[in-house]
Symmetry: C3
Subunit: 355 residues, 3 copies
């Protein structure tokens, strides 16, 4: 049911596993869906994702190192390639077929490392979320982060598809007057790949941060646009144009434009890797503008972490206990239902799959 707080894992989907530059040193150990994984770049630049456990004696491969022909275990020297196949066993000539470690499909694209945790035969790269703002760093200078959060991954989706909390949680940062957020015109809908939430504030005074960012002198039309893509991506476009430019009809004009990507990947049932990238789409020639943007967003998200981790503790104490919905929940309800439909479909295809 969509009411289940600690959502199970949807397996047949691409999840963000890392930012590419986290792998610059050759290896990255990270647990996804309770499975300890090792991402590594081999001597030829190709990325592999293998279980972080040697098939021989169980030692974590993350204690090893990348060598010429692959990844060498740090205990007894077995070597594995990016597909998990053992290619060398010290002290013996033949390699038995069972000498291999589990591997997952992995794709490096647009500064992301994506991993597929389900059936490899279903891993279709065409389904990977597109984030064109990383393709042109001159037009969209950006800065990225990864935050570990102790909540179920769908709690993070809930939080992003909910704007009511801004006035209560973000009192020290972007919150402003709670009433503005609660009463603003809001629209939520299901999409083919998830759900979408748009909120418009028309003909309003620009907030001080917008004025500082792009120098608005009069009133503006503002929007906050969140598109949820199942299971763990949220594409956010926050922006504003001068009143009279026709923002509702055409937002692609000069003004204030912020493109935020949110990557949400389950580490365990109650912990999540939260990736985000913030692209400065308004003062591209000023490197300090991108840093200033990052420095404004980071503490805001830390406020979310505090309240959500506390919330998760209460919910985990009795996950089946009912909650009382309010009207402001409707966008997150759309997102949860879209997710649940995908989960039901996955389970229908694999009726015996145990969580």
């Amino acid at each position: 049911m969509s009411d289940r707080i600690n959502a199970p894992f949807l397996r047949n989907a691409w999840y963000q596993a890392a930012w590419s530059d986290e792998l610059k040193d050759g290896m990255l150990a990270r647990t996804i869906m309770n499975e300890p994984l090792l991402f590594f770049r081999d001597a030829h630049g190709k990325i592999g994702c293998v279980e972080d456990r040697c098939c021989h004696r169980g030692a974590p491969l993350s204690h090893g190192k990348v060598v010429e022909n692959g990844l060498q275990c740090g205990y007894h020297g077995l070597v594995f390639d990016v597909n998990g196949k053992c290619v060398e066993i010290p002290g013996q000539d033949s390699i038995p077929p069972m000498a291999k470690v589990k591997a997952h499909p992995v794709v490096e694209r647009q500064e992301f490392v994506w991993v597929w945790m389900g059936d490899p035969a279903l891993a279709d790269e065409a389904k990977i979320v597109d984030w064109p703002y990383h393709d042109n760093p001159k037009k969209y200078p950006h800065r990225k982060a990864m935050m570990p959060i102790k909540v179920n991954y769908m709690m993070m989706v809930d939080n992003l598809m909910d704007l009511t909390h801004l006035g209560y949680v973000h009192t020290k940062t972007i919150g402003g007057n709670p009433k503005i957020h609660v009463e603003a015109k809001m629209q939520a809908e299901r999409t083919e790949t998830g759900a979408r939430l748009i909120r418009w504030l028309l003909d309003v005074a620009p907030p001080p941060t917008y004025v500082r960012a792009v120098g608005f002198t009069g009133k503006i039309d503002r929007w906050m646009d969140f598109e949820y893509v199942i299971p763990g991506s949220v594409k956010q476009w926050t922006g504003a144009l001068n009143v009279g430019m026709g923002a509702v009809e055409n937002r692609e004009q000069e003004g204030f434009h912020l493109h935020l990507f949110h990557g949400i990947t389950p580490e365990t049932e109650t912990t999540t890797h939260y990736f985000w990238s913030a692209a400065n789409g308004y003062r591209q020639d000023d490197p300090q503008a991108t840093d200033a943007l990052y420095n404004e967003i980071h503490p805001t998200f830390l406020e979310d972490v505090v309240i959500m981790e506390a919330q998760q503790q209460r919910l985990s104490a009795d996950p089946e206990r009912p909650l009382v919905p309010i009207k402001a929940d409707y966008a997150l309800t759309h997102a949860r239902r879209a997710f649940q439909k995908a989960l039901d479909e996955e389970r229908a295809r694999m009726p015996t799959a145990a969580e």
Copy 2:
């Protein structure tokens, strides 16, 4: 059985939840009987005790704040009154009846905050323990504390109703010669509300601390009087008069008088909130006397904490394993039996109540 080490919770009873002055900042989060609670003083000075979990999305209410009409959740702004009733939901006009949080009867009296964790219909304020020494701070200047202890709450009662340990545990503080404590005349009995233990040391030399406190020059008659009130209160009166004044017949004469209240409240099965208040009934005009008393008692109780927490670890490893009673246990056995009778009665009234 009275032998069960980790005593279950007796629900229909008043427990000390806090000292009043712990609530001076408006809110106090404290877990009692495994239930995370929030105590708060509303804008009109009235105290409420609600479950520390918003009915909407489960966020702890302790992350919110007190506003004009009650307690406001820090996630989405719902407001609750001292009875747990929701009085405001941002973004909607009507409040559904299920929008409420659990609340417990709570009474503020004589510097205590008392809470009733059982059936509210049975919460009779007349049954709250009286501690008149807080009513007259001039006659009984006092100082209070709260210590968290990692033991089952009845272990703390056991420890207070047992004087044999003084000579072994409190070697660095009040212990003195073990034989004195073991061989002293002791009397224990059941009372209507619990059990009582009185020990007399007649015609003995005063200990140095008593001499320093009130200037005894000759021999004295000393007593230690502990009254256990089910489930979690112990009223202690320790004192001494000059020999010949007839202490046994009438203790209410000038001499050394120390009134100690012990409040013992289960946080979980194996952790306890231990409150105590020490009233200086002998040198009331000297503020340093009250501080000196406090500073003598505090390290003594820390010695109890060390041995009891170690004891609890062993007992929790196998709670059903039998213990070997000794003669010196008889007062604590009275207290345990009185408690068990109350527990049996509560369970007989609510035969389906599961612990």
Copy 3:
């Protein structure tokens, strides 16, 4: 099966409990096979091993002290002798027969304290491992240590009976070229009390540390000799003689001789007390030589700790999951089989013994 990673406890055997000098202060608390134990030396110099839990109220006896007639509990003063018998109860004259704490046979010999955790009737001191190198500190100056390791105890045996890992784990210390260790002539066999592994390197250049130790000028014959004695002892003899002295036929000649004892005792299923003693059998008149030896071995063993604890975490996540054996495992397989045979025999004798 010998493949079971987290080996159960073999009870009817002597295990090293401590080094004698750990007990110089009178008491040592240590958990063995999940049982919290207290080792103490009474006023007459005799060592006892009792459960670290008073029979009266469960307090750990390690909070007490040694008095004239035994070990006194620090809570209520009961006194126990080295056999666990209660010899004094404050406040009463007679001591009931049930007033006693569990005791285990214990033997102090050759600087070791050995304990027997099984049926006391089977405790035969003749079966204690002999380590004569402690009898003559002039001929074999030595230094000892105890390392706590978070692995099942048989994992430590596996590690000692496996030389392949030297070139991968000990890269910063004794490792050298991995190929040397993998390709060296190796011999493994079962013995009456366990298993043995000998590796010879004949007619090779001496490693720098050997040259520094004894001044080899030409080529040498080297050996590494590991004898596993069920359940938790490994006797290591590492040495070298000048080529031509006939090392294979008679190693007892002047050269490089290092005698290492490894004592491996289960604290819990997944934590181990690892004792070791290193005897300098080559430059006995130089105290710095013994310290230098110790200082070379200690960081080497810490390298083992790091990889093994990481390995244990992976294995504990799914202890029944199969491993893929390689040829280099054959000596540890001998040791595991010898252990398993002893375990099977113990269980056949006590068919109802539950682990």
